[in-house]
Symmetry: C2
Subunit: 223 residues, 2 copies
């Protein structure tokens, strides 16, 4: 019987990838309007490559972009990019439309809910608070704090400890196949959140859903 659900955050409870695309295009718009000599599409492609090379938590994406395009770090253009990115991110961040209705249903089923996410603690908490999700969750478990990242089995063990939950009573919901695999190895029941309905191996997880609204029924199938 499932007593406890662990949710991934980014791209599971809110559309993190779409938000990042929007915010980065807004950053380019601002930088171009302040003089960066590049087309929107080319600048965006370069920025995406830099983010891929350096990782999303690297603090100098726009510095590198201006160095590439104008031959030196241009602080005005860097600031313009940061303004465009932040304004868009904070204005547009919201849960998926099925997130809150589903969380309310799960609370009515008396389930303990937790977030289990990779990332920097302050950044991940900022998203939880800005999304207005915090009251639904007993614990927000973040890789930076635990000292291990998904899909390392250690983070799932720590998460079970923190939530006071046995593996057989736990369900893990994530959009990442790799993270699902780590949870499976710990004996946790797994749900792949597959909004894009991409091809996934049939044995990858216990259940595949394409909307969070399918989750209450999926959980009842385990009881």
């Amino acid at each position: 019987m499932i007593k406890c659900v662990f949710f991934d955050l980014d791209d599971t409870l809110h559309d993190s990838s779409r938000l990042a695309r929007l915010a980065r295009r807004a950053a380019l718009h601002m930088m171009i309007s302040k003089g960066l000599p590049v087309s929107l599409d080319e600048g965006y492609s370069r920025l995406v490559r830099i983010v891929k090379e350096k990782g999303s938590n690297y603090p100098g994406h726009y510095d590198l972009l201006t160095e590439e395009i104008v031959g030196k770090r241009d602080y005005k253009l860097v600031s313009a990019g940061i303004i465009g990115y932040h304004n868009t991110k904070f204005a547009m961040m919201q849960p998926f439309s099925d997130t809150l209705p589903t969380l309310i249903e799960l609370k009515k089923m008396d389930l303990a809910l937790n977030i289990l996410t990779n990332g920097r603690a302050v950044k991940q908490w900022e998203k939880v608070l800005r999304l207005g999700l915090e009251s639904f969750f007993d614990n927000v478990i973040i890789s930076e704090v635990v000292g291990h990242s998904k899909p390392d089995p250690e983070i799932y063990k720590s998460a079970l400890d923190i939530a006071g939950c046995a593996p057989g009573e736990a369900l893990f919901v994530d959009n990442s196949l790799a993270c699902i695999t780590g949870a499976k190895q710990c004996g946790i029941k797994t749900v792949l959140m597959n909004r894009e309905r991409q091809q996934a191996p049939s044995d990858c997880c216990d259940i595949v859903i394409d909307s969070l609204s399918q989750l209450p029924e999926a959980i009842e199938s385990f009881i």
Copy 2:
């Protein structure tokens, strides 16, 4: 004859101190609403002390505040503080009411205008852009980029070089007596921006004003 004016940014062109007070009180409001066990006034006093001790560019004011009050760094509360601070700062940042009318007058007088400010380059540029001031200024000269800070005479010499202006043709406007002194040592004419009408030594500068709108007339007195 004055050809070129250098303006300080913070507390000269916009009300930086008031904005910081508002934003820090908003940060405390958010932290308390998310569980920080402290009164608004006591929390605010502690935060102000931490900012004073560590400097305003230190990145961990809220971390230290939670450590002090709850005995450990609390990422949720830190994030709540950052959200309150940033939301307020970005919503409320605006030039003084006399800033834009005065800058327009000075442009009509064919003066070259520059900003000369202490601080981190990306942060100072972000303010210039968010305040909508950038089109008025030929140069935004920032201590981090120059490698010297006001009142070190070197930064005024660099500023004159960048602006292509002789000391005798330059005017420097700042709310800080210390920064005025540095400019005077370089032979630059000086205007103390004294909005609060505080006591100032009579020989501290060439002219004292309490509103930027007095600046065009003051400049004509030098011609």
